[in-house]
């Protein structure tokens, strides 16, 4: 199945598959039986910490690294042994990779020269590519005359005008300042949707990945830890690693009460009755129904799933939480002391310390400012995941 682009004729979405691809650097296994299927026109982000293999996977697809075993398929054809210059892929690198001796227009038409297109045709296509990224009027500028964001836009146009089967973005926004990065990633997403081109985006920035990708593959030690929609990863993390890596989370000791509930910070949460979209899995061997004894568990709780009760209300909490969605199981919570509160625009992050010295990060309304040292109570509304300690 392919989807055709209405903007640059010839650009179509192409399926991509990694089939048990392994890749070694000396004795280090950078990719370990890496498998991933990408649908035509899909925007997939490879997310992971440094050394997780995300860039290696992209470079293996581009042919810049040779896979030790496994197969890479593009448009159902095996390209594992095909040289980079014959793969017909477009790539935008992290560092500015424009050719310094060529103007923006000449850079953009570079790939078309290799495809032996007539000069007039490639000039027209290159100008259209620059227009597409909003730099049509800077065609005669040299790279050193362009800002970082403009250079990456030219690099994007250069990668797109050859009508590649797949667009590869290797941390392409990392070198840019925060504001330009956000602006450009939105532009890239809009462009990708208009062109319908299959795109793989490598990033270590989870916000970047979650905000623009159709699906995100979280990688660790050369393998995919979980692949899914941004909502899947955030709300239904498949492992403790994903729960910790994607979004901000609090690790809180939990107690298995053995009746289908767990106690977290004094809040009793029925595992089966956590709010819709939340998952509270009790690992094998710690199933509440089977193990009635108190078990050593760790609950992963998002900052927005912790509730702060301050002032007079803190003392009057009696185990009934006003939040109807959380039900009455939230309990009275535990006492804590505010140690830091950061205003982040539409919301606020407050750091509290518990009597045992552990720290919790809580997200709440920006209007609820709490002074440092304020005594509060913390209640758990929902847990994202529960694992064995």
């Amino acid at each position: 199945m392919t989807t055709s682009s209405p903007v640059l004729p010839g650009i179509v979405g192409t399926p991509v598959s990694f089939e048990a691809v392994s890749l070694k650097f000396g004795s280090t296994l950078a990719l370990d039986e890496f498998s991933l299927d990408i649908a035509p026109g899909e925007f997939v982000a490879l997310l992971g910490p440094s050394g997780s293999g995300k860039t290696t996977a992209l470079r293996a697809l581009a042919g810049l690294e040779a896979a030790s075993s496994g197969r890479i398929l593009v448009d159902d054809g095996d390209i594992t042994g095909v040289p980079t210059n014959k793969r017909d892929l477009g790539m935008v690198f992290q560092s500015y990779s424009l050719f310094p001796h060529l103007t923006a227009l000449e850079n953009t038409e570079y790939g078309l020269r290799n495809r032996r297109q007539p000069k007039a045709a490639r000039r027209t296509a290159a100008q259209a590519g620059l227009d597409l990224v909003g730099l049509g009027d800077l065609a005669d500028r040299y790279p050193h005359e362009l800002s970082g964001g403009q250079q990456q836009r030219v690099a994007l146009a250069r990668a797109l005008v050859t009508r590649p089967k797949v667009l590869l973005l290797d941390e392409s926004l990392s070198a840019l300042d925060a504001k330009v990065r956000v602006q450009l990633r939105e532009e890239i997403r809009q462009l990708q949707l208009r062109l319908g081109i299959t795109t793989i985006f490598v990033t270590h920035d989870q916000e970047e990945a979650l905000s623009i990708a159709d699906r995100v593959a979280v990688m660790k030690d050369g393998r995919i830890e979980q692949v899914g929609t941004p909502e899947d990863l955030y709300l239904r993390p498949a492992s403790a690693f994903v729960a910790e890596f994607v979004g901000v989370t609090n690790r809180i000791p939990a107690e298995n009460l053995g009746d289908g509930t767990v106690r977290v910070l004094g809040s009793v949460l029925p595992v089966a009755e956590v709010p819709v979209g939340q998952v509270a899995e009790v690992p094998a061997g710690h199933a509440p129904a089977a193990d009635a004894t108190a078990g050593g568990l760790v609950a992963y709780v998002r900052p927005e799933n912790l509730r702060l009760v301050a002032g007079a209300a803190a003392g009057s909490v009696t185990g009934s939480v006003a939040d109807a969605a959380a039900g009455s199981a939230a309990g009275s919570g535990v006492s804590a002391t505010v140690v830091e509160s950061s205003f982040l625009g539409s919301f606020r992050h407050t750091l509290v310390t518990l009597p045992d010295g552990s720290l919790l990060r809580i997200q709440h309304a920006a209007s609820e400012a709490l002074a440092i040292g304020t005594e509060v109570r913390v209640q758990v509304l929902a847990v994202t995941r529960v694992v064995a300690a």
Partner: protein, 278 residues
């Protein structure tokens, strides 16, 4: 218009003038001494233009023929050594930097070896090699170009390496390959144009080293500019120094031309002011 901002560590104007004067004297004093020497009259102890006039005397043409031969040979050897730099060193360095960056230090070490060996030691090593080369390609002077290609390696390597590091050749190569470049296509269309500054410097220094080389040519019994001057020196030291002065000016002009040629391409890429950055 804003005034030029002086770097806090920049020397004062007076200090700069003193430095320039000392360095200028370092060059000017020997040259002035050479000029004075060529004007000496060995018979009277006074000064005369006879030594310079003798250079162009028709009956002296055969005497100085060896100089013309030496100049021709040195220019030929310069061209050969430049060819070694352009056709072997540059592609090899680009290839190593792109494909085997870990070997870059090894290559640097190898290229620096000629600098650490005295010329006489090099010659001892070259003698059996040249006996072999002589049997294969003859003993024409151009064969000395192989040896010169070696002795210029440290200087040429440094000039090109600096340029390679500055442009980030590896990323450019990967970008080129994803855009459909073959290896030679990338070398011709991206690497060489962006290495023009380093290549120009390498060529400049190669020509300078070859034109000034004496030891290898002398010990391997070849004639070049410096050995020719040495021969003339035994016959007439005044004329020899006069020819040295003329050679100095000619070589200076040649190097200026090489340097100018190298700048032509670089100027194109930099003809716009960086102040246009948006």
């Amino acid at each position: 218009m804003s005034a030029k901002v002086r770097h806090p560590l920049a020397p004062a104007r007076a200090t700069r003038i003193i430095i320039l004067a000392v360095i200028g004297a370092l060059f000017a004093v020997p040259i002035a001494s050479m000029v004075e020497f060529t004007l000496r009259d060995p018979k009277t102890g006074g000064h005369t233009l006879d030594n310079w006039a003798g250079l162009f005397a028709p009956d002296a043409a055969s005497t100085y023929e060896v100089v013309w031969t030496g100049i021709g040979n040195s220019l030929l050897l310069s061209a050969f050594a430049v060819a070694v730099v352009l056709l072997i060193l540059v592609p090899t360095m680009v290839y190593v930097e792109v494909e085997f960056p870990r070997l870059s230090r090894v290559m640097e070490f190898i290229c620096l070896i000629p600098l650490s060996l005295p010329a006489i030691v090099l010659v001892v090593g070259y003698v059996p090699v040249y006996q072999f080369i002589g049997r294969i390609v003859g003993t024409d002077v151009w064969s000395l170009g192989f040896a010169y290609g070696i002795i210029v390696l440290p200087f040429a390597h440094r000039a090109i390496k600096s340029n390679l590091d500055a442009i980030g050749i590896r990323v450019l190569s990967e970008a080129g390959r994803t855009l459909g470049d073959s290896w030679f296509g990338f070398l011709r269309r991206v690497a060489v144009p962006n290495l023009r500054g380093g290549i120009s410097a390498a060529v400049l220094i190669t020509v300078a080293v070859v034109l000034g080389e004496f030891t290898l040519a002398s010990l391997l019994n070849r004639t070049n500019l410096q050995t020719a001057l040495n021969i003339i020196n035994w016959q007439n030291p005044f004329v020899s120094v006069a020819i040295s002065l003329v050679s100095l000016i000619a070589v200076f002009l040649l190097l200026l031309a090489v340097s100018g040629l190298g700048r032509v391409g670089v100027r194109r890429a930099r003809r716009r002011s960086p102040s246009k950055v948006v």
